[in-house]
């Protein structure tokens, strides 16, 4: 399969593949942990909508434009086809 990130230069490509080969098994684990953290972060941002009082909601509100893409992926991952929040229409 062709990897879009693979460099064209033969030596760089060889080194890239070698690095991929060694880190392959670790990536899944790291991706999973990073996702868990992101989910926690999003949960913090949207906790008020779930009825959990959030003392910093004023600040997290400012983050919304920046995390809209992530929010979209998150609700898809949580099994919701469309955004569950009326005022955030990412899709």
């Amino acid at each position: 399969m062709s990897d879009p990130n693979e460099p064209r230069n033969p030596i760089a490509r060889w080194l890239y593949r070698y690095d991929r080969m060694l880190r392959l098994g670790h990536e899944a684990e790291v991706i999973r942990e990073l996702r868990d953290e992101d989910d926690l972060f999003l949960f913090m941002c949207f906790s008020e909508m779930l009825g959990v009082p959030n003392p910093v909601s004023y600040h997290t509100l400012e983050l919304y434009p920046l995390i809209i893409e992530e929010f979209h992926e998150w609700h898809r991952r949580m099994g919701m086809e469309h955004s569950p929040l009326d005022h955030i229409r990412c899709c």
Partner: protein, 586 residues
Amino acid sequence: MNAVWLAFIAGLIYILGWRYYSKFLAERIYRLDPNFITPANRYNDGVDFVPTNKWVLWGHHFTSVAGAAPIVGPAIAMYWGWLPAMLWVVLGTVFAAGVHDFGALVLSARHKGQSIGTLANRLVGRRAKLLFLFIILILVLMVNAVFAWVIANLFISNPAAVLSVFIQIPLAIWIGYAVLRRKGNMLIPSLVALAVMYGAAVVATYVPALQIDLVGWMGGEQATNVMFGLDAVGASFLIWILILLAYVFVASTLPVWKLLQPRDYINAQQLVVGLLLLYGGLLVAAPTVTAPAFNSEATTSWFPLLFITIACGAISGFHGLVASGTSSKQLNKETDARTIGYLGAVGEGTLALITILAVATFFASTTDFHEAYSSFAAAGAGGVGNFVGGAGELISGLGIPAAVGQTIVAIIIVSFAATTLDSAVRLLRYIIGELGVEYGAPKLSQRYVATFIAVFLTALLVLLPDGGRGLGSGGFLLWPLFGTSNQLLAGITLMLISLWLYRQGRSPLPTLVPMVFLLTMTVWAMIQQVVFTWSGLGEADAQWLLFILGAIILGFAIWILLEAVRLFRNPEELKRLAEREAREAE
């Protein structure tokens, strides 16, 4: 005889096996289909199921399966001379290991990427799954005990290696934090880590102040009654084992990316570097083989013990776990399975081969060999040390001083064994937790409780049996048991592949023959050891721990054999299981 010739002949057989036998397997037996949609493509989730370039996956598979075991087994098996060991490593790889790893990969890919344990449940029934869990439990415990022993032993005989091994821990944590979490390139940092480690090894080899030499600090080998009535070597052993156990307790409870994974990454580099250094050294130095082809003075028979002493290196059940656990979920095309499964086994075979050649060329004369390998127990105690010495000599062919080479080889083995130890304790923790949930004891599934039990059981196994060298030598007494449980696992995997092939109406002979051979040898060796050696019926004194553990494994081995015979003789039940499987697949 020149050792290069042996490497050349073995290499040629590997190439022929890969070129012709694996092609035959791919086309006639496993019938790989380039149009089959593999689980990686069907369930691509970006995490576990990811279609991967075949060479990348091959490298990953190879570095995951190769550890300290293909070094320890052959180094001990040199007791019978280099020829039996080499024949089994070469022919076993071509006709058993390759078939096994390749088959496990195909079988799993054809069953949604499920692992061998799950497949055992589906293809043979619940009993097999239970059996499977117990074998893995015993296997993992054994791995812990044996590798803790290996590391403590190497620390005592190579004090210059200790510093580098300790340096690896903060370096790995740094890589974990700085690179792995930020998706940066790991290649350069891990090469820097390697350079620092080996640099420290070179310095420590020449500066005694940097060597952590517990035996020396306690007054040298002749010092007696240092503590608890132990001599200096025994006391150092106890201290190292306790330090190691404390370390694995911490390491196996940390999140994987903090220590385990970056360490694994650095070690995979070490494997590549080590193989290049050893084979490079072999080619340049072209040493003469001084060990005998057959050790005529051996009092313990090589048949059938050889086949359980060399576990990884020729066929190994652990490979099936890796092949069906992770590699099958990343297979891009089914036809790639030939490269990944078969050539992965050949990769491990080359590591076992260089071990044999390093030991075979280490001794100045055949008399020296006979002295070092005077008995099977002596082979067990000194085998790894002989490899370290021989490998140091090989590396010296590249202009690196033999003492530095030895330290580097010791670091490589300790690193391999230590990561296996980390992962094995973690695995043991999961199994204990799972059993706890199963039997209504949820406390057992708590992280620290389960880890404590795992570490405690390991400590018991390493420290309790009083082997030939006093306290702590329990680890090597257990080596034949490790071999048998590992071969048993391989036998189960081969049985599953055979059943699957049989049900598909294809010839199961290429998997059935190694299965029958392997299980016969395992059961034979077990009966010999359990009944005649450990029970006290023979000339030797009874060894209860080995007897009990051995008897359990022997029971499992016979059970598996009967299970296989029953299914092959009962096509009706096989059909029922197939129907059930088809229903579940829908």
